[in-house]
Amino acid sequence: MTELTTALEMAAAVAAREVTATELVEASLSAIAERDGDISAFNLVTDDAARQRAAEIDVEIAAGRPVGRLAGVPIALKDNLCTRGVPTTCSSKILEGWRPPYDATVVTMLAHSGAISVGKTNLDEFAMGSSTENSAFGPTRNPRDLSRVPGGSSGGSAAAVAAGYVPLSLGSDTGGSIRQPAALCGVVGVKPTYGLVSRYGLVAFASSLDQIGPFATTVTDAALLLEVIAGHDPLDSTSIPEPVADLMSHLADGVQGLRVGIVSEFMVEGIADDVRRRTEAAAAALEAAGAIVGEVNVPAAAYGLDAYYLIAPAEASSNLARYDAVRFGLRVDASTTPDMYDATRTAGFGDEVKRRIMLGTYALSAGYYDAYYGTAQKVRSLIRRDFDRAYQDFDVLLSPTSPTTAFAFGDKTEDPMTMYLNDVCTIPTNLAGHPAMSVPFGVGDDGMPVGVQVMAPMMGEIPMFRAAAVLEAAANSEAIS
């Protein structure tokens, strides 16, 4: 029917009446029906609602009424974003069947933009994981090689875009959960500045780290979606009041004179050789385009993983106390309320969630608070300080997104620490609150996609996207030649 692949092209074609929203939605639903039995990106496909919404938008357009920037564009939502009346599971048994009584702010903003949700995507339970193997509903497979994981925790959202079902999706990133699956699936993934996108209606994991962000096939589409979902929200007390930067008008600015720092701590042992080589090639591409490239140290970032695996579980243990079988979700009956709490939480949470709840409870418990949680919070300060120092000399920083390309199922499930090491390059920016994004930059020795990470200081989205656009162009011209 159509060769439209990007959201920008789709929205333009819908507005110009070259294609209808209904045609775009039908194409998306057909692609899902054809391949998702194998990939399992979706927990739920909301086909009826998508068709109805598309018909409404087609009526608006036929009547010549103004429509939003993403009118008619199919999109997928990570299943930890609340959708009113539509099941929102967090891929956990404890929320199975729950229909939220409200929409997340991003869901409302997408609706105003005319984007059409086609469904809810799979994740590691409560966004805790790096492979989407921790889902209560089974794993998602990497569309580029079904024997490998898509990364996680937003594996379903990354796979939905990589499989070509939708040009856009939303994920959430607490320690790399957008950027790492984007890298492993070969798509663009963005973790915005903390507070740039409202977290209202994002089911909380670690509130001081969580941030919603876009997946897309192109840097331009990612910028477009970020512009649509960013903005102050009175319903999120951590939402920043500044207006949204105009990213789209800066995408072609290039990187002439831009100072790019390669983070030495993220180019060490533990990073696969092929991934390191691709990162060096990315630095060379930026330099060839006029950037000033150098090496930089962010010493405390080497301790990011350690601080994160105390801070995030501590916050999670508090946030997940709300699953008490009283107000929503699963209830396992018992003769008293306390027994009902225990029985429900024991049956409803998977092992990784239990592990993190116990770890966080321990880190916060009397006698250990200062040694664990307190220490981690001080290390978090040092990480922020070291990044801030690096940004005195550099506009953006560069590193691998993930230490390896996509790995096989079961490879890292035995030992939690092995899985956690996947996020060694992505976690420090969450601790700092800074923005970062992953851009596909060729393939590794195994032919699987490699992502490089561009990091920036608070509200540094413009230079971050400028660098990302240059990397994308360089990767495309390399692929052609």
Partner: protein, 100 residues
């Protein structure tokens, strides 16, 4: 950093977190949590003297809204999602049971 976490410690935090952990699982969780905490002990190498703890990217501050009436969630819609509700309230089993 404190001593390595014990099975008794894990049983205690499981209780605090309202989770029933079977004895064989307790061993496995203890070993895994011990490994994670051991890794975290690397932070002891850093000089943290005089470093302020950071709890949040912006520091936490209270945000007040104007004290005016506004629509909130629909009560019936909220209660329709509860495992059990009656007469406009959430319904639970007896809170005080036999156990202490």
């Amino acid at each position: 950093m404190p001593e390595r976490i014990t099975v008794e410690d894990v049983a205690h935090v499981a209780r605090l977190a309202r989770l029933n952990i079977a004895p064989d699982e307790l061993e496995r969780f203890t070993s895994q949590l011990g490994d994670i905490l051991e890794h975290a002990a690397q932070m002891a190498a850093l000089d943290l003297e005089g470093v302020e703890p950071m709890g949040h990217p912006y520091g936490l501050r209270n945000v007040m809204r104007a004290d005016v009436l506004a629509p909130s969630l629909d009560r019936d819609e909220v209660l329709s999602q509860a495992p059990s509700a009656e007469a406009g309230m959430f319904r639970v089993p007896p809170v005080l049971g036999e156990e202490p």
